[in-house]
Amino acid sequence: MSFVGVTNVWQRYGDRSILERVNVSVDEGEFVSIVGASGCGKSTFLRMLLAEESPYKGDISIEGGDTAVEPNRERGVVFQKYSVFPHLSVRENLIAAEAFQNPLGTLRGSARKNAETRADAMLERIGLNHVLHQFPASLSGGMQQRLAIGQAMTAKPRILLLDEPFGALDPGTRLQMHDFLLELREETNMTVFMVTHDLDEAFKLGDRVLVFDKPRWDPQDPGLFGATITYDFDARDKGIPYQDILAAYPSLASA
């Protein structure tokens, strides 16, 4: 059974269709890039994965569970901006990822100490240990996104959702963030969904690239039909899935 199952999902706002008949199943540890033109519903799809909004029809399940009605700790998220809390220091932002689930949103005593130790380890990992007492506003865009990713990972979600996470970064920082994300993935084998406008980025980072588009189009009523997944590329091995098939199946060469 698939890890994340999206079954016949429709979404509409009023009488405007956004998505129709979206079916996809994703294995644990897969990195799924989602691309498409603006307004094609890819962000809507991500919001439904996040359970920020519920599908009009259909089911979205993680490990066979029910469709969630509100965001929870199963889903981690990093937005293009505003993903970290401006009033908390860098370190407090990471501790919040553990503390917020408590009734008062705080940790005390040894629990707090342990969370601090883990936060410091994460800060080391994301390379922000030199700014731990600063506030997010004083960090660069790349550092803020590293913190946001670290914060989301600290909560140990089942799936990580990235909504154009590097869209506001300059090209150099963006490349650094790609390396950072690839390393992090190698270590954690996290299941990731990433919405992006950058096709190179989608193929570089993703195992799969889903393309959202409208298969049907009514010129008199553009809102009549919604978008769906029109392409589902295998993006492993630089998007050419069978080029190394002989390495995997040497017997084929002799045939």
Binding site: V77, F79, K81, F100, Q101, N102, G105, T106, Q134, F135
Partner: protein, 279 residues
């Protein structure tokens, strides 16, 4: 317009005063006001040494010294300090109640759609009621004591503060609210750890803005019915045309308001370092 700009080498908007120049300019209106008053006072006193309308600055200083240090003959108490403590007690009481109320209501309206539906139109209408028109009702309901004065301040400034705080809570990016939920935060934790700390600086600036109205309502209430208080005293000595006393009180109230405002500003800077982290 071009005629004026021909005289100067740059556009007027690009002229910035130097630091000493800025200090001089800041002081200038005060100096001019003082000089104008002194001249006017001098002209009137030369014509009629008994004139009470514009007492000489030296007279005001003498009166001030007397008011601040010499006890009243009958009560053996210094009235100015009694008035000050009574008024500040009412002011702080009213403002504290308003701040607490507006914080609770504002966060509830900003975060909870149900609370928004329930309260927001009601508070919008309530903020249109002229508070001073309610003063007679307050005196009838709460009597002439402290309660009616504090309630007037609360009624006067709470709606405005609540609306502004609710607006600020709604302006917190939805991303942050969603993020907090993905970290497992309950509604209470979102309110207490995400919304509250981010609107507290706004609460302080709201209090600063509202203090002007709070003083207005306080002095109005004291003027109508009271037996102690800064506003009461001003309206009492008005009967004797004691301009020196009135002016001392006005300057004293202005000074108090200025100090409170400055203290709140300093508090805001110290308590919320993250506000200025990006600047």
């Amino acid at each position: 317009m071009s005629l004026i700009e021909d005289i100067f080498a740059m556009r007027l908007i690009n002229y910035v005063p130097s630091r000493p120049g800025a200090i001089f300019l800041a002081a200038l209106p005060f100096i001019l006001l003082f000089v104008a008053y002194s001249i006017a006072s001098d002209i009137r006193l030369t014509a009629n040494p008994q004139d009470k309308l514009l007492p000489a600055p030296s007279t005001i200083v003498e009166t001030a010294e007397r008011l601040f240090t010499v006890p009243d003959k009958r009560s053996k108490e210094i009235l100015l300090w009694n008035d000050t403590f009574a008024s500040l007690g009412r002011l702080f009481g009213g403002v504290a109640i308003s701040a607490t109320l507006s914080l609770i209501l504002g966060i509830a309206i900003g975060l909870l759609p149900y609370a928004r539906s329930l309260f927001s139109s009601f508070i919008a209408v309530m903020s249109m009621v002229p508070p001073l028109a309610l003063l007679p009702i307050l005196f009838i309901v709460f009597g002439l004591g402290e309660v009616s004065k504090i309630v007037l301040i609360v009624i006067g400034i709470t709606p405005f503060m609540t609306r502004d705080l609710a607006q600020r809570v709604m302006e917190i990016p939805n991303e942050q609210i969603v993020k907090a939920q993905t970290l497992g935060a309950s509604s209470w934790v979102v309110a207490q750890r995400v919304a509250l700390p981010q609107v507290l600086p706004r609460l302080i600036s709201n209090v600063r803005l509202s203090l002007g109205s709070a003083w207005l309502f306080l002095i109005a209430a004291e003027a109508v019915a009271s037996n102690v208080g800064l506003g009461y005293r001003i309206f009492l000595v008005r009967r004797y045309l004691a301009m020196d006393v009135i002016l001392t009180y006005v300057i004293w109230i202005t000074l108090l308001a200025f100090i409170i405002d400055w203290a709140l500003k300093a508090l805001s800077r110290r308590a919320f370092p993250w506000m200025e982290a990006g600047l």
